[in-house]
């Protein structure tokens, strides 16, 4: 069975259309979506309507949660107060633009989806806000996969696709308790994988192309896909809708942040 896993569409209808066409070309049997349908982009309602019309199983992302619950995201990932302010502007715009039935739909989305030995989440099994970066300590990453009781953990949130294979995990434990003898045991973990689906609508891998992944459940083969689309159209819509123009500039370059700043004044208040 061939699965397509998409994530972080962020109101980018053009990119979603292009990715769906690519998925069609590859004849995927099932699509999963890891959330963040809204936020940053100019077409949150159209994106949600398209995902719903195709009956794509979808997890709730952090932006979807914010639209439902009110701005509550941990914004530690913003590099500066300026970037955080822009994020708040995008949230306010989306909050105004979103249709009531779309908000209602976003509220129904589950945190986790499962299929056999596969688990699908937005950020991590612990939280929609946790970033599973490829540089994360291997044992901590392994803990996330095992805590999800899965062999393959699909996530998004970072907007950069990757496959991480964690093999031959071995831990030994020596326990000493007062009045009892020392006990030792060893723990081994078979191959576990983290597959980050990247981002359809706001890629941050250094190019403007949309990204997603294909997964073959029979061969366990993972294919990271990069799909060109007419991003200029989305950029124009961002500006036309009155969203911060720098989002368009960033989208056209596939940049992680519009600027890098070491801002000691930026403190997470959550």
């Amino acid at each position: 069975m061939k699965l397509a896993v998409i994530s972080c569409i962020h109101g980018n209808y053009e990119a979603l259309n292009a990715v769906l066409s690519d998925i069609d070309t590859h004849r995927a049997d099932q699509i999963y979506c890891l959330g963040d349908l809204a936020g940053y982009g100019p077409h949150p309602n159209a994106v949600v309507e398209l995902v719903r019309s195709l009956d794509i199983p979808t997890c709730q992302g952090c932006w979807d949660e914010d639209i439902v619950e009110g701005l509550n995201a941990c914004e530690c990932s913003y590099p500066s107060q300026l970037a955080e302010k822009r994020g708040h502007l995008a949230h306010e715009w989306t909050n105004r633009a979103i249709h009531p039935e779309v908000r209602k739909y976003l509220a129904t989305l589950p945190m986790t989806l499962r299929q056999d030995n596969l688990c699908f989440v937005h950020g991590s099994p612990n939280s929609q806000h946790e970033y599973l970066l490829p540089s994360m300590d291997g044992f901590a990453a392994l803990e996330r996969v095992l805590s999800a009781e899965a062999d393959v953990l699909f996530c998004g949130h970072t907007h950069v696709p990757y496959l991480r294979e964690l093999d031959n995990g071995t831990l030994s434990v020596k326990v000493q308790q007062p009045g009892q003898g020392e006990t030792q045991h060893q723990f081994t973990a078979p191959l576990k994988r983290i597959v980050n689906a990247g981002s359809v609508g706001e890629p941050r891998h250094g190019r403007p192309n949309a990204t997603y992944v294909l997964y073959d459940t029979d061969s366990a083969q993972v294919t990271l896909r990069e799909v060109p689309y007419d991003y200029a159209k989305t950029c124009a819509a961002i500006i036309e809708q009155g969203l911060p123009p720098i989002f368009a500039w960033r989208l056209a370059r596939g940049m992680e942040f519009a600027e890098r700043a070491d801002d000691p004044g930026h403190v997470c208040e959550r």
Partner: protein
């Protein structure tokens, strides 16, 4: 030379705390630092007297450094200071009217003092905390999955994690000896990286006030990296009973 005494779970049991202080005074190598990693207060003990005692160490005694624990967090929740309103964790366990009991057991003035305490202490390469950095209610025991223990140590960025949530005394060395990690991106497949690392440990510091007539705590010598488990027997006639007649969990 530094010598730490690390306590948890006094739960308002002043007699047990005094017994532990007396034991600390008897140590051949003087205790230089005294840490109390949460659950200073509890349901049944004389919390007000205990807090007064902790805040007013006698001459020559180390000044206690206290962080918050599960019972403190329930107080904050009950008093609307932080966390979820109406103490749902406490309500879930409310078989014996614990919400009312806790409300009456700790004054608001004391709760306000407790609310200024730290969540934990990072000292040298150690983290001293009630649960873990995940949560004050994170209960680490010798039965906890090795990978979870390893994760908590990595999150804590510590070689030794002292915790008190379980009330158990234990030393659990975790050696994440091998793990091969290979990352593939759109642009490349990086060479596999070996992620094994040196052993590190989780130490359960026991509890002072939960068990009738028996307190436990640990001594830690940062110079030698040695943990010593201490048990203090007390006389029930002197009031060294359990701080409560119900299970903590």
């Amino acid at each position: 030379m530094a010598n730490w005494a690390i306590l948890s779970g006094i739960e308002g049991n002043l007699a047990a705390y005094e017994a532990v202080l007396a034991d600390i005074r008897r140590q051949r190598q003087p205790v230089t630092d005294l840490y109390i990693v949460g659950d200073l207060v509890g349901l049944r003990g004389d919390n007000e007297a205990l807090v007064r005692r902790v805040r007013s160490p006698q001459p020559g005694e180390p000044i206690p450094q206290v962080c918050t624990g599960w019972w403190e967090e329930q107080c904050f929740s009950l008093h609307g200071l932080r966390g979820l309103p109406d103490a749902p964790e406490l309500v879930d366990r409310d078989r014996l009217g614990t919400v009312k009991d806790l409300w009456e057991a700790v004054s608001r003035q004391t709760v306000l003092w407790l609310a200024d305490l730290d969540f934990g202490f990072h000292e040298l390469d150690c983290l001293l905390i009630h649960g873990s950095t995940v949560s004050y209610s994170d209960e680490l025991t010798p039965e906890t999955s090795p990978l979870t223990l390893c994760d908590r140590l990595i999150r804590a960025d510590a070689n030794t994690l002292f915790c008190g949530r379980s009330g158990l005394a234990f030393e659990c060395w975790v050696e994440p000896s091998a793990l091969q990690s290979t990352v593939t991106t759109l642009d490349q497949t990086a060479a596999p990286q070996e992620q094994g690392k040196s052993p590190r440990r989780v130490v359960g510091v026991g509890n002072v006030g939960r068990q009738a007539g028996q307190a436990s705590y640990v001594l830690y010598n940062p110079g030698t990296n040695k943990v010593t488990f201490k048990q203090v027997q007390g006389s029930l006639a002197k009031g060294f009973g359990a701080s409560k007649g119900l299970s903590h969990r």
